[in-house]
Amino acid sequence: MSSDPATVKEIFNTMDYGPAPESPKEALHWIQQHGGTFGHHIAGRLEAPGRKRFETVNPGRNETLARVTQGTKGDVDRAVKAARDALPDWAGLTPQARAEHLYALARTIQKHSRLLAVLETLDNGKPIRESRDIDIPLVARHFYHHAGWARLATETFPDHEPVGVAAGVIPWNFPLLMLAWKAAPALAAGSTIVLKPAEHTPLTALLFAELAREAGLPAGVLNVVTGDGQTGATLVGHDDVDKVAFTGSTEVGRKIREATAGSGKGLTLELGGKSPFVVFEDADIDGAVEGVVDAIWFNQGQVCCAGSRLLVQEGIAADFHARLKRRMETLRVGDPLDKAIDMGAIVAPVQLDRIQELCAIGEAEGSYCHQPSWAVPEDGLFFPPTLFENVSPASTLAREEIFGPVLVSTTFRTTGEAVQLANDTRYGLAASVWSQDVNRCLHVAPQLEVGVVWVNGTNQFDAAAGFGGVRESGFGREGGIEGLTAYLKPKTDRARKAFAEEAFTPKAEPAPVDGPADPVDRTAKLYVGGKQARPDGGYVYPVLGADGTLAGTASLANRKDVRNAVEAAKKATGWSAATAHNRAQVLYFLAENLTVRRAEFAARLRQLTGASRPAAEREVDATVSRLFGYAAWADKLDGRVHQVPMRAVTLAMKEPHGVAGVLAPDEAPLLSFVSLVAPLLALGNRVVAVPSSRHPLVITDLMQVIETSDLPAGSINLLTGAKDELAATLADHDDVQAVWYVGTAAGGAEVERRSAGNLKVTWTNGGKRIDWTDDRDAYGPAWLERAHRVKNVWVPYGV
């Protein structure tokens, strides 16, 4: 290592920081032990290196560290097979035995923590302080926490079973931590996993697999296949994978959503971000300045949830920027292995190029760029901490994820405007809110369209608290009880039979002109924004009864009707903001009003479906019961306070997705429709629902009940017509946050594929038939679970 040439006397006068190098010796020795070249880790064995290899580079010195194998289809097949073969024994272990294995992994990580930290820093370029004090301790914590879940998963989720073989595609910014976020819950849940580390940073995954084997983890439970994006795509697309967890860019996440559409694979995506860092005038300004350091200059800003958009209240903006610039002067950038630096190296030349390119665009667009007076070292991939001031929301820098140490700053005037600007992005991962007024913080946090809010803090993570985004930052949570469920599936899923309804496509007829021929217009209208509405296209379609005679005509909604309905639903924010008690009351009232008209609805069901009287009455009664059930749940789905290891309350708040589209089947047209819509409404979603295309009239009858049941305008909207056509428009719609579809396998696949546009949350029946009469299949926690998302709000406290 470099010597210390300065004399004590010189340093006594300058009081400079000197080099404080961490030795890379042991980590380099480990690489050399393997001849500097690695194969995959499959079925408990490190394979011989493959023929095609690529280099992994130490970005701190721009030197080759090792060569790893480019995973082929054959390699992926072997790894998935190993995971499949290992699954029965692993899933069959007692919870206690699985817990002991995870506990052993946690202990192993702690035992080898320095080796893992140094290797991570060598491969990734992050400061050794971060890998040593943040990444690796969080990895150990994740395995300890999930050792607990391994012990408790079965008793906590008795109706669930392991999801099966999971595939984890890992990013390069927190290589081992993101591995832990996927492997720990998968293993705890009794699933097995194949991991594909990022091509820039494969080494700690390989070391971890080796340590796991030494710790006695059964062969095949955890496999590592190295390679580039193509290898990842092969793994994600593998037919025998049951669940995919991906962390990375929104662009790749979208491709994975499309590639897995219709496959029945579980999917969680943790994608990009452009997270706001909001500083109000009553904040601890120096504290917030330091918060910015931890937000955007942590891991060189290569953090999906980096607070990269500074929103600062106009009155303190000048002061804040001045203090921030002063702080930037004292940041230290350099050798990642130096224990006294704040920022290390950018992971790869391609990333450095992108950062430089975006900064050039920012300057060209007229934003003012500030960097510290000092220069970064030249013998590595370094970029200085950078601040762009007075960046308007319209500029490229305010919208694009830079994924580097570049902060853009915008001012705001009021709390309301801060929320508006914070939400003015396609992403929705995290947000920081700085104010010493807890009233203000707790007023703002629920309004932010994100998965995580840090009050007076930033970049805080813990195994007990779920992490993940909304909007185009993806869906699903990693960590906490909310993350564990991604690796479990309801046992009832297995018992479902194939969906057997024939697709029904309504045939358009011109709408009848009101006239003397029929004194009463029996055409059922659409229901949009609390009003009955004629279809935009002016077409209706005949609805036949079970006996083949005309039962009535229904409106044929088109894409413009979808647009109108979504607009109405979007405006109906009052339903989401209503108290849970209020929502419960409305749903009870709806159920009560339906009871009053029991005979009428039973008759309609008999007319449309040919059901016997008792069967029709049972369906109405079951519908009433289900409405009561969800009304009962509405004010009982409490959030949680996660126990994170710091002085804070971390609130896991259950929030509605927002606007949800529902496409209902023909079977049990009243019961199935209400079974789908009621849990969404109970949680505060606003719904655009398409009832059975074949039997819509029972739901258009329900419209009148809805009208008299105090459901606010826009909270529920009804569109009759061709299911798959309306499903496509809803799945495409960028202002729809969730779509539930019950129909053919092909229709469901199409919804999933189209949902990739804004990465909305989807649920489909996966080509399976739901038994609507069976509460275990069609009612209960699983439905409530998918009707909401969890926002974690970290509120540290103390004076």
């Binding site: 210390d4 300065a6 004399t7 004590v8 006397k9 010189e10 340093i11 006594f12 300058t14 009081m15 400079d16 920081y17 000197g18 080099p19 404080a20 302080r129 004090d133 009553d282 904040a283 601890d284 300004i285 120096d286 504290g287 917030a288 330091e290 918060g291 931890d294 004292t330 224990k339 006294a340 704040d342 700085w434 010493q436 007076n456 803090g457 710091m646 002085r647 804070a648 540290p796 406290y797 103390g798 004076v799």
Partner: protein, 328 residues
């Protein structure tokens, strides 16, 4: 009575705070988020590792910033004499020579004693350039009539003290009577004359960081040359967290008024490692200018011994024994 200060050469930074008249409107609403401060304090030592020659140089610098202190009921002229001898030669000559620092006149920043020990300290430090610091104003509780406290300050100055470490009436801070605090400190400052006034806030008794910040500000408005954390007698003395609150208030005061104030953490700083953390705090939060005994002091009695042992270890490569370091 004035002596040249040890680092009083031209160009050395100096405290410069005439204070400002008290107006309630000039006391800013300083807000401190405790959790954010704790994070900063916890990560700072981990971010700023100082090794080898740099560590030796930094530790020697720390020695020059120590107010070598004895504040005990059993202090005697003999004890003070020994302390002053140690202040003149805080590090063994052989160690200094090995570090190439034998010609640098390494002494502690000051000697700090009770008022009645001032004459003894002054006599023993004569010609050394080392200032005598005296606590005063009814140290440590400060609950003495105001006239007596003012008289005590004047008396200590008359006896040869160059620096007076005054304690504040905690009641004024705890009840938000900032005008009263400003008033008493203004009178102490007048009684100090040309001696420097170091204002001890007794932060461990002020309850919250916000109060510490405000008390710091009002002390500076009243002309404090230094603000100091603690008497060393409270149950909570100097911590990185409360120091952070004070240096940020001090920095803000400098930004707003242009006046330079020094900082002295005191109590509980016992190890070389702690001293390095405080120096890093000062360097990163206030800048290199404050890394000078004119603007930064440690109030400590046992810190020096640990630094001596670390310096010897640096020179010999062997871990050092306490009994190899001369006692004060």
């Amino acid at each position: 009575m004035t002596q040249p200060r040890p680092s009083g050469s031209a160009g050395a930074p100096q405290v410069d705070n005439p204070g400002i008249a008290y107006r309630e409107a000039d006391v800013p609403d300083l807000r401190v988020n405790l959790s954010a401060s704790e994070r900063r304090a916890a990560t700072l030592p981990a971010r700023r590792s100082v090794k080898k020659n740099h560590q030796a140089a930094w530790l020697l610098k720390a020695v020059t910033m120590i107010d070598l202190t004895t504040l005990a009921g059993d202090d005697t002229p003999g004890r003070v004499q020994r302390l002053c001898a140690k202040a003149r030669n805080p590090v063994r000559h052989d160690v200094l020579s090995a570090l190439g620092m034998q010609d640098e006149r390494i002494t502690t920043g000051a000697v700090c004693v009770y008022p009645t020990m001032v004459p003894h300290a002054a006599a023993n430090l004569k010609g050394s350039g080392i200032p005598v610091a005296s606590v005063a104003t009814g140290f440590p509780a400060g609950l003495m009539p105001l006239e007596l406290r003012i008289q005590e300050v004047a008396w200590a100055v008359e006896q040869g003290a160059h620096e007076i470490d005054v304690v504040i009436t905690r009641e004024h801070a705890l009840t938000g009577n900032w005008a009263a605090l400003h008033e008493e400190l203004t009178q102490f400052k007048a009684a100090c004359g040309s001696a420097h006034m170091k204002v001890i806030l007794a932060v461990g008794e002020l309850g919250t960081q916000d109060v510490i910040a405000k008390a710091s500000w009002v002390a500076m408005m009243a002309g404090a040359d230094f603000i100091k954390t603690s008497t060393g007698k409270e149950s909570v003395n100097a911590t990185l967290v409360n120091s952070l609150t004070m240096v940020r208030a001090l920095r803000h005061y400098h930004d707003v008024t242009g006046h330079t104030v020094g900082f002295k953490p005191a109590g509980g700083i016992k190890t070389a490692k702690q001293a390095l953390a405080w120096l890093a705090l000062i360097k990163d939060e206030l800048g290199d200018r404050w890394l000078h005994p004119n603007l930064f002091r440690f109030g400590a009695s046992s810190l020096l011994g640990d630094i001596e042992r670390q310096l010897e270890h640096h020179v010999t490569g062997r871990y050092a024994a306490a009994h190899h370091q001369p006692l004060a």
